[in-house]
C-alpha cells in the first residue's frame, strides 16, 4: 500500500499525484473562498485558521515530541502582546512585528524547555500550567503593556496596503497558516523531526542513538512557542483588543483538546481538530434555536441542571463529542480519516 522503496520516497513532502491534485484543489478553494463567503463565515474561518496554527505548534510538542503543555495560552499571549507592543511602541511594520513576536515567544519557549528537561508527564503539565497563569498575571501588572486595561490593535497594514474587514484579514492569516502547515510537514520529514519522534518513543533510546536531548527538547518547545506566538499576533488583530483575561487557562485546555481530538502526531489531525473544536465552540451556541430539539434540550436542562439552562447542555454535548472520539477512535479524527481512506481503497470488497 504505502510501501516506501527508498529513503527519498520517505522524505518526500507529498506522496502521490493524487495528493498533489487535492492540495492544489484545496488551495484553489481557499483562494476563492473570501470572494463568495459572508463576512461572518470568513471571521469563523479566520478563527479556525489561527487555531490551526496553534494546534500545529502544540502537536509538534505533544504529538511528535511527547512533551505535554497546558500553558500555551501563555505563548499565545506573548505573541499577541509582543506583536502589538512592537508595532505601537517601537513602530515596527506588521510583518516584522509578527515574526519578532513569534521569536520572543520562542525565546520563552526555550526558557520553559530548560526546566522541562527534568520533568515528565503530570509534573510537566503542572509546570506549564503555572507558566500560562503566571504570564497573564505579569502582563496585567505592567502598565507598559496596558495592565488590566489591555491594548487596542493599531490599524493593520501589510507592505503599505491597508487591511480592513474580515476578507482582508483572511488574506493575511490564511497564507501564514498554509505556510506554517507546510513548514511543519517539512520539519517532520527531516532529521530534526525524526529526532523528536525518537524522543517521544523513548528518550533513553533516543539518547543512545545520538539524539541530543537538551538540544532537541528545548528546540521542540521553542518551535512550538513560535507557532503559537505567531497565532497570538494574528489573533490580536482579529479581536482588535486584547487584555490578560483574553488568554485564560480555558484556552490552553481547548488547544490541547484540539490536538488530542484531531490526532496526535499528525499535521492533518491538527488541522481537523482545530477546525472541529473552533466550529463546535461557535455553533453549539445556537443549539437552542434548532426546531424541536432546541426547546426539548432546554426543557431537560431547566429541570435537571441549573437555571442558566441550555449552555450546560452545550457543554455536555461538547464534552460527549470529545469523549466519544477518544473512546471510539483513540487516534482522533485523523484515525477516522485513515480508516475511511482504507475503506474506499478496497471498496467494494
Amino acid at each position: 500500500m504505502d510501501m516506501k522503496r527508498d529513503y527519498y520516497e520517505d522524505i518526500r513532502l507529498l506522496d502521490s499525484g493524487s495528493q498533489i491534485f487535492w492540495l492544489i484543489a484545496l488551495l484553489a478553494v481557499l483562494t476563492a473562498f473570501p470572494f463568495f463567503a459572508s463576512s461572518y463565515l470568513i471571521y469563523t474561518v479566520n478563527l479556525m485558521a489561527i487555531n490551526v496554527i496553534v494546534a500545529l505548534g502544540l502537536n509538534l510538542l505533544v504529538g511528535y515530541t511527547g512533551q505535554i503543555s497546558l500553558g500555551h495560552a501563555g505563548f499565545f499571549a506573548i505573541g499577541a502582546y509582543g506583536t502589538l507592543v512592537l508595532m505601537t511602541k517601537l513602530g515596527l511594520p506588521f510583518p516584522a512585528a509578527l515574526v519578532a513576536g513569534g521569536l520572543i515567544s520562542a525565546l520563552f519557549g526555550f526558557l520553559l524547555g530548560l526546566p522541562a528537561l527534568r520533568l515528565e508527564g503530570p509534573y510537566l503539565a503542572i509546570a506549564t500550567l503555572g507558566f500560562g497563569l503566571t504570564i497573564t498575571q505579569i502582563l496585567g501588572r505592567i502598565d507598559y503593556f496596558g495592565g488590566h486595561m489591555g491594548l487596542q490593535a493599531p490599524p493593520l497594514s501589510v507592505f503599505g496596503i491597508e487591511v480592513t474587514g474580515d476578507a482582508g484579514r483572511y488574506a493575511v492569516i490564511m497564507p501564514v497558516c498554509v505556510l506554517l502547515a507546510w513548514g511543519l510537514r517539512n520539519l517532520t520529514k527531516t532529521r530534526v523531526g525524526r529526532a523528536f519522534v525518537a524522543i517521544r518513543d523513548s528518550d533513553i533510546a533516543a539518547e543512545c542513538i545520538g539524539v541530543n536531548l537538551t538540544y532537541y527538547k528545548t528546540l521542540a518547545f521553542a518551535v512550538s512557542a513560535f507557532y503559537t506566538g505567531v497565532a497570538g499576533g494574528l489573533m490580536a488583530f482579529v479581536l482588535g483588543f486584547i487584555n490578560p483575561h483574553t488568554f485564560n487557562v480555558m484556552i490552553s485546555i481547548l488547544f490541547l483538546a484540539m490536538v488530542v481530538v484531531g490526532g496526535l502526531g499528525s499535521v492533518l489531525g491538527s488541522i481537523m481538530g482545530a477546525v472541529l473544536i473552533s466550529w463546535l465552540q461557535i455553533e453549539l451556541n445556537r443549539i437552542t434555536e434548532l426546531p424541536l430539539l432546541g426547546p426539548l434540550l432546554e426543557q431537560i436542562s431547566h429541570s435537571v441542571f441549573t437555571i442558566s439552562g441550555l449552555p450546560n447542555v452545550q457543554y455536555v454535548v461538547f464534552g460527549l463529542i470529545m469523549v466519544g472520539i477518544i473512546i471510539f477512535e483513540p487516534l482522533g479524527l485523523y484515525g477516522i480519516w485513515i480508516r475511511t481512506k482504507l475503506y474506499w481503497r478496497t471498496w467494494p470488497f
Binding site: 459572508s38 463576512s39 482588535g240 451556541n285 449552555p311
Partner: protein, 389 residues
C-alpha cells in the same frame, strides 16, 4: 457555455435579491417583531454575571405579554460567550449578519464589549446598556452606543462626598484593586477631594490574586484613616474585613456598588459587613417601588427558579432605556429614528437612577444612592438618588 451563462444568471439573481433585501427595510424590524440580541456568560468563570442576560429575557417576556412595543413583539436572542471575546465577536457578527437583529441589549463585561465595539460602531448597530462600568462606551460619544451603568468615578465622588459632608469624616483612605475598575473609583475619589483642596489620607492598591491583606490594612490603620472606601471584588473585601477585625481597626467602611449584595456580603464576612455604607445603582431587592413590584411578579411568573438578586434584576434596568427609546421612535423604527428618540430621553427613571441622553451625551446615569448594611445583612436605604456632579 450554457453552464457559464447559468452561473452568471444565478449570480445576478442573487445580487438582485440581496439588493432588494437592503432597500428600505430596517434590519431586524418587521411590522410585528423586533429582533434584539445579547451576549452574556452562562458558563465559565464569569457565569455568575450571566444572570443579567437572563433578567433581560424575562423583562422582554413581560413586555411581550403586555402586547409588545408599538404592536411589535420582541424576539430575543441570548447567546453564551463564556466571557471569551473571540466568541463574543462571533456571536455579534452571526446575530447581525445571519439572524439580522436590530441591535444589542446590555451584554456583560468589559473585554467582550471592547472586542465588539469597533464592529458595532462601524456598522452603526444600536447597543444600549452595557453591563460594565467602563468609561470606554460613552467617552468619546458614539452615535449608536448608549451607556446606562453609572461609571465608577461618579460613584466614588458620591461616596467620598457623603463621608466628608454627612458623616463628618476627616481622613479618607482608599483601598482598591489595581486595574481599570479600581483605578476608575480612585480617580473619582481624588477628583472630589481635589475640588475641596484636600487629599486622600492614603491610597492602597491590591492585586486580584492577593489573599493576605494584613500589610494593606496596617497601612490604612497607620495613616489614621477614619473612613475607608473599598473598590474590590467580594472575596478581597471579605478578607479586608476579617483582617481589620483582627487588628482592631474600626473605621467607617464604605464600598462601591459591585459590593452592594448586602445579604451575600454579610454571609461571607460572618457578620462583619454590618454598618458598611455602600453605593447602589439599582433599587434594593425588597424595594416597594411599583416597578420593582411589577418586575418581581414577572420573575415569579416567567422564571420562578431564578434568585431575585441584583444581577438578575439589573438585566431589567439596563434595558429599560432601550425599550423607552424604541417606544418613542414610534411605528417608523429605523436606526436613525431610534437614535433620535434616545436623544430625547431626559430624566427617565426606571429601577435605576435618572437617565438622560442628548446629542453629545451617551452616559445615561450619573446617580447612585447609598444604603447601609444592618443586622442579618438587611440593607437600609440612607439617601435618595444623589447626583455625581
Amino acid at each position: 457555455m450554457a453552464k457559464r451563462l447559468f452561473l452568471a444568471a444565478a449570480l445576478l439573481a442573487a445580487l438582485a435579491l440581496a439588493g432588494g433585501a437592503w432597500a428600505g427595510v430596517t434590519k431586524g424590524v418587521s411590522d410585528t417583531t423586533i429582533k434584539i440580541g445579547q451576549w452574556g456568560p452562562q458558563t465559565g468563570p464569569a457565569a455568575l454575571w450571566g444572570a443579567v442576560a437572563r433578567g433581560t429575557g424575562v423583562y422582554f417576556q413581560m413586555i411581550n405579554a403586555e402586547g409588545g412595543i408599538n404592536g411589535r413583539k420582541i424576539e430575543y436572542f441570548l447567546r453564551d460567550d463564556a466571557y471569551q471575546p473571540d466568541r463574543t465577536k462571533a456571536i455579534v457578527k452571526d446575530l447581525y449578519e445571519n439572524v439580522g437583529v436590530f441591535g444589542f441589549a446590555s451584554g456583560v463585561g468589559t473585554s467582550p464589549g471592547m472586542a465588539v465595539m469597533p464592529y458595532l460602531v462601524k456598522n452603526q448597530i444600536p447597543w444600549v446598556g452595557s453591563a460594565s462600568g467602563s468609561t470606554h462606551w460613552a467617552y468619546p460619544p458614539k452615535k449608536t452606543i448608549f451607556a446606562v451603568y453609572p461609571n465608577y468615578p461618579d460613584e466614588a465622588k458620591v461616596l467620598v462626598r457623603y463621608a466628608l459632608d454627612t458623616l463628618g469624616k476627616k481622613k479618607i483612605g482608599f483601598l482598591y484593586q489595581n486595574d481599570d475598575y479600581g483605578k476608575g473609583g480612585l480617580e473619582g475619589a481624588q477628583a472630589e477631594m481635589k475640588k475641596r483642596g484636600l487629599k486622600l489620607a492614603i491610597e492602597v492598591p491590591t492585586e486580584v490574586m492577593d489573599t493576605d491583606l494584613s500589610s494593606h490594612v496596617l497601612k490604612l490603620k497607620e495613616a489614621g484613616a477614619d473612613a475607608v472606601v473599598l473598590w474590590l471584588l467580594p472575596k478581597q473585601a471579605a478578607i479586608t474585613m476579617g483582617t481589620a477585625a483582627k487588628l482592631g481597626y474600626k473605621p467607617q467602611w464604605m464600598a462601591c456598588s459591585t459590593l452592594s449584595d448586602a445579604p451575600l456580603m454579610y454571609k461571607i464576612t460572618k457578620g462583619l459587613w454590618k454598618g458598611v455604607i455602600f453605593g447602589n445603582f439599582a433599587e434594593l431587592p425588597d424595594s416597594d417601588n411599583p416597578l420593582m413590584v411589577k418586575y418581581r411578579k414577572a420573575q415569579q411568573e416567567f422564571a420562578p427558579k431564578e434568585r431575585w438578586g441584583v444581577f438578575f434584576y439589573a438585566g431589567f434596568g439596563f434595558v429599560e432605556p432601550m425599550v423607552e427609546g424604541i417606544k418613542r421612535a414610534g411605528k417608523d423604527l429605523t436606526v436613525d429614528s431610534f437614535v433620535k428618540a434616545m436623544e430625547t430621553i431626559k430624566d427617565f427613571q426606571g429601577i435605576f437612577g435618572k437617565v438622560t441622553y442628548g446629542p453629545d451625551r451617551r452616559q445615561g446615569i450619573r446617580q447612585v444612592f447609598l444604603a447601609k448594611c444592618e443586622d442579618k445583612g438587611q440593607a437600609k436605604r440612607l439617601s435618595d438618588w444623589i447626583d455625581a456632579e
